[in-house]
């Protein structure tokens, strides 16, 4: 049976698409943006999260683990052997923890289960002009699952949005696009080498997807740019981005300031945060917005 991995379903999401929405977070992403605030979205498979802030270092988890995958780390907190956990069937540590400090991040679900969860708030979508938003991770990285979810929602009359990096193949995009009412499309860097440096992958697939959508259904596109000091905020980058958008006949870009607030989640997954520069201040955000708008208006 077709299943996908979902790491969160957030009802009453009001910032990603119009109206009251349910946001479904699909796990797994081909990019590794240095500023990412959702480390739980990176790996495709379910994984154990250790909420370090809640941990009382009682090590009842270690005692309960049949594979002896937990020991005390140098910082005094439990250190988890992630490779052992990946094979685990019991997750005995979770039940053993008295402080709810351990939880599985990521659940296997069928498309029907996702659609059923989304449909519960259908009345709210109807009254607010809302719907469902699939995000991630990169939702297009689970194409068959996403397609089935979108189709199910569509058949139930629910408006659909997909929040994407655009990093996918033409075939996947062709299959998905007709089922989507709105693409929340994240742009980052115009230069592919820069893109590879900051996100781990080149940007050719991103602009290929963007070009396809721009020619086929520009009305479905909402463009967003995470404003990261020292990375995406360079004037050169903003200028080139606008040039490329202009070539595609596209306009406005929303600016989302980087905030560095997801950094402490990395340790919960046994990883080090890749970068934490100070977030841009309000004038910087305003300046970038103005710069983008002026360039776009000038065209």
């Amino acid at each position: 049976m077709l299943t996908g991995v979902v790491f969160d379903i957030q009802p009453f999401a009001v910032h990603d698409g119009p109206g009251i929405r349910t946001q479904v977070f699909l796990k797994g992403c081909p990019l590794r943006c240095a500023w990412c605030c959702n480390p739980e979205s990176h790996a495709a498979a379910p994984e154990l999260r250790h909420h370090r802030a809640r941990c009382h270092t009682c090590f009842q988890c270690a005692a309960a683990c049949p594979s002896h995958a937990i020991e005390q780390g140098a910082d005094g907190l439990p250190r988890i052997d992630r490779r052992a956990c990946a094979q685990c069937a019991t997750h005995a540590c979770i039940d053993a923890c008295p402080n709810d400090a351990l939880a599985m991040c990521g659940t296997r679900m069928t498309p029907d289960e996702v659609v059923a969860a989304v449909l519960k708030d259908a009345a709210f979508y109807r009254n607010s002009g809302g719907g469902v938003t699939f995000s991630g991770g990169e939702p297009l990285a689970q194409p068959a699952f996403l397609e089935a979810c979108l189709r199910g929602c569509r058949e139930a009359g629910i408006a659909t949005a997909v929040s994407t990096t655009g990093y996918t193949t033409p075939e996947v995009l062709d299959a998905i696009e007709p089922l989507v009412d709105l693409f929340l499309f994240d742009l980052k860097l115009a230069d592919t080498a820069q893109h590879a440096f900051w996100t781990g992958v080149g940007n050719e697939p991103v602009f290929r997807s963007l070009a396809t959508l721009a020619s086929r259904c520009p009305e479905k596109l909402v463009l967003r740019l995470p404003l990261v000091p020292g990375a995406t905020d360079a004037p050169q980058n903003l200028a080139t981005l606008v040039d490329r958008l202009t070539e595609l006949g596209l306009g406005a870009v929303q600016v989302a300031p980087y905030h560095g607030l997801g950094a402490d989640k990395y340790a919960d997954f046994g990883r080090a945060p890749p970068m934490s520069p100070p977030p841009p201040d309000a004038p910087a955000v305003r300046a970038a917005t103005v710069a983008l708008r002026r360039r776009i208006d000038a065209r």
């Binding site: 957030q10 009802p11 009453f12 999401a13 009001v14 910032h15 119009p18 109206g19 009251i20 605030c37 959702n38 802030a53 008295p98 519960k120 708030d121 009345a123 709210f124 109807r126 009254n127 607010s128 002009g129 809302g130 995470p226 929303q254 600016v255 989302a256 300031p257 980087y258 905030h259 607030l261 997801g262 402490d264 989640k265 309000a282 955000v285 305003r286 917005t289």
Partner: protein
């Protein structure tokens, strides 16, 4: 997208220097006790021994009105107040003298403080500072009273000690009510709110439309004509005494107004500023004209309303006494006054709001703790006209604007929601919500109409026209309903305690019920329900004795004159003169904790077999100490507020049983009791009185807030799931109900936020729900959330780029959100 930490999007300013000054004066004023009314009332009462009860009551009240000092404060344009002070309370010793005497003997304070905590800041602090300075004493924890008046108050209270409503009531029920002991035990264990000191009355809205449109002189003429036509003819007929009492009390009321007119003229004569002098003369003219005659313009209409409002308020120790549909009452005068402007309406509304907030309430410490000084004066806007058209108008928006500008704690502002209301009005209401003041609350008119059509059988037109709110969340039909209704609550949480400990109160050791040894889930539920039935029936019957005592001691005469159809029937409200006598409700709170607990018992004890009932009882007695892993299982069991049919089903069954049982009993006037559930602040003292619960709640923690609000920390699927759960309840079966939702400002920011909030309301009311109100989070609340994460499991905070449950965020991130929320506030 940009600044996602905007604290509260809307923050208003008083519309004029005048109203700003009035607000500031209020904020600076200490809380005062004023004994003037009580002194005059008592003087009269000493002289009127032997008079018929209604006529004596009218004589006493009228005599008091005729001697109250008219005080006009600087800047005021609408005059008339209950006391001489900016913030004053009348100690109604004629209702309950005992608590004041106990208070003066400094006993009660210590006894009650263990359950109730009062506020500390603002006017309370001013009172304490002033007391430290001079010839004042602090009274009842937060009021100032001068030393000589305190001594006089003691005398007055001693006079009333055996004559007051409470004493007369006690002599009735304590002697002859077979269940008297269980009532007294109920108070000991915290099953009921404190004794009826001082008021079983107040959730009433007078017929202001008649008072304004006819004027008092026409009403007096009507009463006199009836008196002239009266011929004695049997016990069923009209009561001559009521009509005579009505004339007396209206004449006293006119003197009250005339004294304000004279005071305005006196001040005008010595006023040096020409603008203010002209104002004072205009005010004098108004007070010479209304309420005797119908108002000639909008401003006089506001003055006339305010006189009637204050005069009714003066008569009794009201709680929940409300202005009702003021946007409808005043509308014809606004509409027909060519000089009236929206700006004038807003400014006058602001002045009214300051005036309402100034009215203070002094009672026993326990009631003050419950109400936190709030008098629940509910002003409800919108709704429908008699013929079913949307009723919102320019005044409706002016009242909302006044609240946006001032953010006073009174009146309690509400909206009768209907899908046909204008978009502009709905948006104004949302703008007001965004100030974070917590008003307006939204009520679903259709739900109430259906309830009332079924219980009263009155025509739909009548219901639409008069649907109002009397008190915090309890609707009533304005100007036509019996207003002596009980105000005490049954604590469902305590009934759960008693069920878990088989009739023995785990906190005090008092045995309330004989043991029944339930062994199955069905028997546990039955045991709870049997206790609830007994507790509710005793409570209802006890209150009927109180209402009987009310009739004998403090029947409402002035208020009855302005409640249809007391004049026509020749009967005061206490004798069934009102058209609608089904107003008395049976109040309770805490049912969500009971249903969560029973659902958890069913799962953990009877399905999973993880422990026995006896082991559970041991865990509860130990307040879960040493039973942490067992507690985890009970916490993990399904809970109300997550759209989980199993957990919700338990609540619905209990709800059904409660409303059916309540409605099976009769009130003092012989009509069925109306079931209701409210909360005010009962979850806190009720929770303090309770031991640990099987839902994982620890001993002493507050109970679930509201009626269908989930227990904090147990709804983990967001506001839409809470609404879906709450929509399963048949809200038409009770009068009242309460759902609180908390939002971080970012969740409702901007136009799209307003749209979403309205969509949320619309969806819930299609459910059909009954009531919803919104709390917009501020940094103070976030700090509280940091200290008590378990109470804020449902709080979603938008952090740029993602939304997160507050409790899921790291301390550092929380700190940052608090910092930025605060930062943007200044």
């Amino acid at each position: 997208m940009f600044d996602t930490f905007v604290p509260r999007e809307v923050h208003g300013q008083p519309s004029s220097r005048r109203t700003d000054d009035l607000k500031q004066a209020y904020l600076q004023a200490p809380l005062m006790i004023d004994i003037e009314y009580l002194r005059r009332l008592t003087d009269s009462h000493r002289r009127t021994d032997g008079m018929e009860v209604l006529e004596r009551r009218a004589e006493d009240h009228a005599f008091a009105l005729e001697g109250l000092t008219p005080v006009i404060h600087p800047g005021e344009r609408i005059v008339g107040h209950k006391t001489r002070f900016l913030r004053g309370a009348i100690p109604y010793a004629n209702y309950a003298a005992g608590p004041f005497l106990r208070e003066m003997r400094q006993q009660e304070q210590d006894a009650q403080q263990k359950h109730i905590s009062l506020g500390e800041g603002g006017g309370v602090a001013h009172a304490r500072t002033a007391a430290a300075l001079g010839d004042f004493e602090v009274f009842s924890g937060k009021f100032l009273i001068s030393r000589p008046e305190l001594a006089e108050l003691a005398d007055l209270c001693e006079f009333w000690e055996d004559r007051c409503l409470m004493a007369v009531g006690d002599r009735l029920w304590k002697r002859d009510f077979p269940d008297a002991q269980s009532i007294e035990n109920g108070w000991t264990v915290g099953l009921y709110t404190a004794p009826h000191e001082p008021c079983p009355e107040g959730r009433i809205v007078l017929d202001f439309r008649t008072a304004l449109s006819r004027g008092y002189l026409a009403v007096i003429a009507d009463l006199e004509a009836r008196i002239a036509d009266f011929r004695p003819g049997g016990p069923e007929g009209p009561d001559l005494h009521f009509w005579r009492a009505g004339v007396r009390v209206l004449r006293g009321a006119l003197t009250f107004a005339a004294r304000y007119a004279a005071e305005a003229r006196r001040l005008a004569a010595v006023e040096s500023a020409p603008v203010r002098r002209a104002e004072l003369l205009q005010m004098a003219e108004a007070c010479e004209h209304v309420p005797a005659h119908p108002p000639r313009n909008f401003r006089e209409a506001v003055q006339s309303f305010w006189f009637t409002y204050v005069l009714g308020h003066l008569e009794g120790a009201h709680l929940g006494y409300s202005p009702g549909r003021l946007d409808q009452t005043l509308w014809p005068y606004y509409r027909d006054d060519p000089t009236a402007t929206p700006a004038q309406a807003v400014e006058l509304a602001e002045e009214l709001f300051v005036k309402m907030t100034r009215i203070e309430y002094v009672a026993s410490m326990s009631w003050q703790g419950l109400g936190h000084g709030n008098l629940y004066q509910n002003l409800i806007l919108g709704g429908l006209t008699a013929d079913g058209h949307p009723a919102d108008n320019a005044l409706s928006q002016a009242f909302l604007q006044a609240q946006i500008n001032l953010q006073m704690t009174q009146p309690t502002l509400s909206v009768w929601w209907h899908p046909s209301l204008s978009d502009a009005f709905c948006r104004k209401a949302v703008e007001c919500v965004k100030t974070g003041v917590g008003y307006p609350a939204f009520f679903n008119l259709e739900t109430y109409l259906r309830h009332e059509a079924r219980t009263t059988g009155l025509p739909l037109e009548t219901l639409r026209e008069n649907a109002a709110m009397g008190g915090c969340t309890e609707p009533t039909l304005e100007g036509m309903s019996y207003g002596v209704v009980q105000a005490g609550f049954v604590n469902h949480g305590k009934l759960l305690d008693l069920t878990m400990h088989d009739g023995l109160d785990p906190v005090t050791g008092v045995r309330m019920f004989e043991p029944t040894h339930p062994a199955t889930y069905a028997e546990v539920v039955a045991s709870f329900q049997a206790k609830m039935h007994h507790a509710v029936r005793s409570w209802q019957q006890y209150w009927n004795y109180v209402m009987l005592a009310h009739r004998q001691t403090v029947p409402l005469v002035f208020c009855s004159v302005f409640v249809r159809d007391c004049v026509g029937r020749g009967r005061c409200m206490d004798d069934g003169g009102a058209v609608n006598n089904r107003t008395p409700t049976t109040l309770s709170s805490g049912l969500v904790n009971v249903s969560n607990s029973l659902a958890a018992i069913r799962k953990v004890v009877f399905e999973d077999g993880a422990c026995t009932l006896n082991e559970l009882r041991d865990a509860l007695s130990a307040d879960w100490q040493g039973y942490e892993s067992l507690r985890k299982r009970f916490v993990a069991a399904p809970k109300w507020g997550n759209d989980d049919d199993v957990a919700d089903g338990v609540f619905l069954d209990l709800y059904d049983d409660y409303v059916t049982w309540c409605a099976g009993q009769r009130n003092y006037l012989g009509e069925p009791y109306d079931p209701s559930m409210l909360a005010i602040s009962t979850p806190v003292p009720f929770g303090k009185a309770c031991g640990a619960f099987p839902d994982g709640r620890r001993a002493g923690q507050p109970l679930a807030d509201g009626v269908t609000s989930p227990f904090p920390g147990t709804d983990v699927h967001g506001p839409t799931a809470v609404i879906r759960s709450s929509s399963k309840v048949d809200h038409t079966r009770i009068r009242g109900g309460l759902l609180n939702l908390k939002f971080h400002p970012t969740a409702i920011e901007g136009d799209s936020g307003a749209n979403n909030l309205l969509a949320l309301i619309r969806t819930y009311f299609e459910g059909p729900g009954f009531h919803v109100q919104f709390n917009v989070v501020d940094s103070q609340m976030l700090r509280d959330a940091q200290a008590h994460p378990d109470r804020y499991r449902d709080l979603v905070v938008r952090v740029a780029g993602f939304s997160a449950y507050w409790v899921e965020m790291s301390k550092a991130l929380q700190d940052q959100v608090i910092w930025r929320t605060e930062h943007a506030q200044c």
